[in-house]
Amino acid sequence: MTGVAHPIEISGLVKDFGNTRALDGLDLTVEQGQIHGFLGPNGSGKSTTIRVLLGMLRADAGEVRLFGEDPWREAAALHRRLAYVPGDVNLWPNLTGGEVIDLLGRLRGGIDEGRRAELVERFELDPTKKGRSYSKGNRQKVALVAALASDVELLVLDEPTSGLDPIMESVFQEYVDAFRDSGHTVLLSSHILAEVEELCDRVSIIRAGRTVETGTLGDLRHLTRTSVRAELEQPPEGLELLPGIHDLEVDGTRTRFEVDTAELDDALAVLLRFGLRSLTSQPPTLEELFLRHYGDEVPSEADDEVLGRR
């Protein structure tokens, strides 16, 4: 292993395309041995960040370190240690999937034959088809097999599963999990929240080219609201005075409200004073979590309405 604690370290990254600023002081640090989720609305700059990280684009300002080195100047040498899967895999129309897997493997400096065969089988990929006759999902499988079968320390995945069906999705998760468990690192950009929740140790959320939140999913949950319904022995009082309470409704001995998760402890303490008969509390769903960071406003409606707005 290399001894770099942070295979990816980006700070203050700025990238302009003509007059539009795609990245505006972005920060991202990925820990060795973790799967790092990279999230943000469409056009927020995820792919651009990854392309700077891979040395395709030159940064206009800021610090970018891949395995502790400059990816623009050392691109080819650093790429020996990573594999990249884009969301839009474009294959050569007249090369077969099997040929592409071998070609990319050779260019990366070798492929694990046993794992290649296993992956082709697990992903149910027909390697004899020509590039033009693969569906989107199958094109992605070709790139995934090529990446997962090569001997690398870092996977850079930019929406790698947007075309996979649920069964293939779970195969993908299994392999990425195993890759992490063997001490390697993954940067995973994704819009599929279930996948993020299942796989990621930490996530970074970006918006308009800037990092707005970084942490474990637990940390992030802490920053949002939990909805609470309670039935009490006496009508409650003083709830409205608590910090972090929203949308409070009191109907006799019944009450419902939302509370900033960080203040949940105090709210429950108040409820207990009025004799608790029943309590349901709902932690924020992942959707709420992301909508809060993706949109301008924290959504305050009930869950189903929030989902309906997506």
Binding site: R51, H79, N94, L103
Partner: protein
């Protein structure tokens, strides 16, 4: 047919510039024959003599068609332009049909549209009507231009509408091919094969097996005999065959699923061969088809020039203007003619060199280069792989031209020594051809968006060569064409100076292109 009209309007709008370009090309093809023949011969006696010598040249007949009334302008136009005109109309029809049917299905855009309330046949019908109208436009414009030359109205109409009918036939076969194949590339391959077969059948037929010409739609077109006893009924054959092809296409369409073809795509190897290794292996794999195709193309073109043999004198006539055109620098007419032929073949080879130098651009705009550059493959090396293929391919294409020209000449004169002397000079244009491809590399290195400007220097070189003196272009403009600096061998003596200077310039420009590419953003 709900929606067909809307599609038709969109297609015509989208294609209007392309249609204009094809129409102008076709009109130029026919009209320029009239102009060039008209200027060549001073007297009818001279014309008769030239015609007599052409009539007996089997290579010409195989290339163009049956020799009829070659001592008249109309007869010459028909002979020189009709077979190629049919191919032009065929290619236009193929691209029109392909772009609106198979390509749309392949990209999946078609499926998106089919979600809307439109008839099942609407896109296909609109594509068909677009192609029919385009061919009608082509034929009418050709007829009008010839009539205005002035040539006889009825025969001009015959030649023009025959062209339309040929185009309609190839529209029908392209539509059938679009049902059979699953990809645009193989659809173009199949349609192209139909055209190739039609051309080859009439070539063999015209040389001495007339029955074969009657199997070819191009043969039917030429059997209309414009300007040599026009008859309309062979046109009817074309019309019926075209209608049959269209009906067949609709029947096939009913038997297949949207997005697929009736012929399944052939599977390929499950593992990469040894050759598919590194940037050079990949570049060769991607470009080998084009290298072989171009080399064969110029080989046959060279063969056609060479097969003129020593008849040059008869063909170009006695007028001073035509003598001046070919007898460069006081050398003999034969040497002068072949010096010009070598130059023309070299300009053809530029077509390969520039398109090959632009191949990396396609790789980038199609989004395939990032997957490669995200591996341990350095940028410099990736582009170098393509550069090596471009340079080696250019050498191969020029060799093909030289071999074709020499072989053609040797075949009709049985004089291999002279054949070599006349054909080898094609190779001296290598640095000039490579310079044009290096300019393409430089433009691409700077930005893929400006790279297609790389065709401009070739256009300039062609214009200078054909019209430089005619249009009295200023000397500095003519000097911009690298070809102007090389001696017209074999009419003039080979000079090392400009050869080496151009080679050095090409190498430096190519190097600059490589360096620029390593410094810019990808994508």
């Amino acid at each position: 047919m709900t929606g067909a009209r809307i599609f038709l309007r969109t297609f015509l709008r989208r294609d209007r510039w392309m249609l204009l370009a094809w129409a102008v090309g076709a009109v130029l093809l026919y009209y320029s024959q009239a102009v060039s023949v008209d200027g060549l011969y001073r007297t009818q006696a001279e014309f008769d003599r030239a015609a007599a010598s052409m009539e007996h040249n089997a290579a010409f007949i195989a290339m163009a068609g049956p020799a009829r009334a070659l001592n008249s302008i109309g007869g010459q136009v028909t002979w020189q332009a009709s077979a190629f005109g049919a191919i032009v109309a065929g290619l236009m029809s193929m691209f029109l049909v392909g772009r609106h049917t198979r390509a749309e299905e392949e990209s999946g855009r078609d499926e998106l549209l089919r979600g809307a309330a439109i008839g099942r046949y609407a896109p296909m019908t609109a594509a068909l009507v677009t192609a029919l109208l385009a061919n009608l436009l082509l034929g009418v414009l050709v007829a009008l231009s010839l009539w205005s030359y002035p040539l006889a109205l009825a025969d001009s109409l015959g030649l023009g509408l025959g062209l339309t009918l040929c185009g309609w036939f190839f529209t029908g076969t392209a539509l059938v091919a679009a049902q059979l194949t699953a990809s645009t590339r193989s659809m173009y391959g199949l349609s192209g094969a139909v055209m190739g077969l039609a051309y080859a059948l009439r070539a063999v037929g015209d040389i001495g097996y007339p029955a074969l010409s009657w199997l070819s739609p191009i043969g039917w077109y030429q059997a209309m005999h414009p300007f040599s006893g026009l008859r309309w009924w062979p046109g009817l054959l074309l019309l019926v065959a075209a209608a049959a092809a269209v009906v067949a296409a609709y029947a096939l369409f009913d038997r297949r699923d949207v997005g697929s073809g009736l012929l399944a795509a052939r599977p390929g190897p499950a593992r990469a061969g040894r050759g598919l290794h590194g940037s050079l292996g990949l570049a060769w794999r991607l470009q080998r088809g084009s290298v072989v195709g171009w080399a064969l193309g110029v080989l046959f073109t060279g063969l056609a020039y060479g097969a003129i043999g020593n008849d040059v004198g008869d063909l170009v006539g006695d007028s001073k203007a035509s003598r001046d055109l070919f007898a460069q620098g006081g050398a003999g007419l034969v040497d002068g003619f072949y010096a010009t032929a070598c130059l023309m073949l070299a300009l053809l080879a530029c077509g390969f060199a520039v398109s090959s130098a632009l191949r990396p651009r396609t790789e980038e705009t199609d989004g395939r280069v990032e997957d490669l550059l995200a591996t341990a493959l350095p940028r410099r090396e990736w582009l170098l792989g393509h550069t090596v293929v471009t340079v080696a391919g250019t050498v191969a294409v020029l060799m093909g031209a030289a071999v074709g020209l020499g072989a053609g000449y040797a075949m009709v004169t049985a004089d291999p020594g002279t054949a070599l002397r006349l054909s080898a000079p094609v190779l001296q244009y290598l640095p000039a051809v490579l310079l044009l491809s290096a300019l393409a590399r430089l433009l691409y290195g700077l930005s893929p968006r400006v790279a297609t400007l790389a065709w401009l220097p070739l256009v300039l070189a062609v214009v200078v060569m054909f019209f430089g003196d005619l249009l009295r272009l200023p000397q500095w403009l003519q000097d911009l064409s690298p070809f102007e600096h090389l001696a017209l061998v074999p009419a003039q003596d080979f000079r090392w100076g400009p050869f080496l200077a151009l080679a050095a310039l090409a190498a430096s420009v190519s190097f600059l292109g490589q360096s620029a590419f390593c410094r810019r953003d990808i994508g």
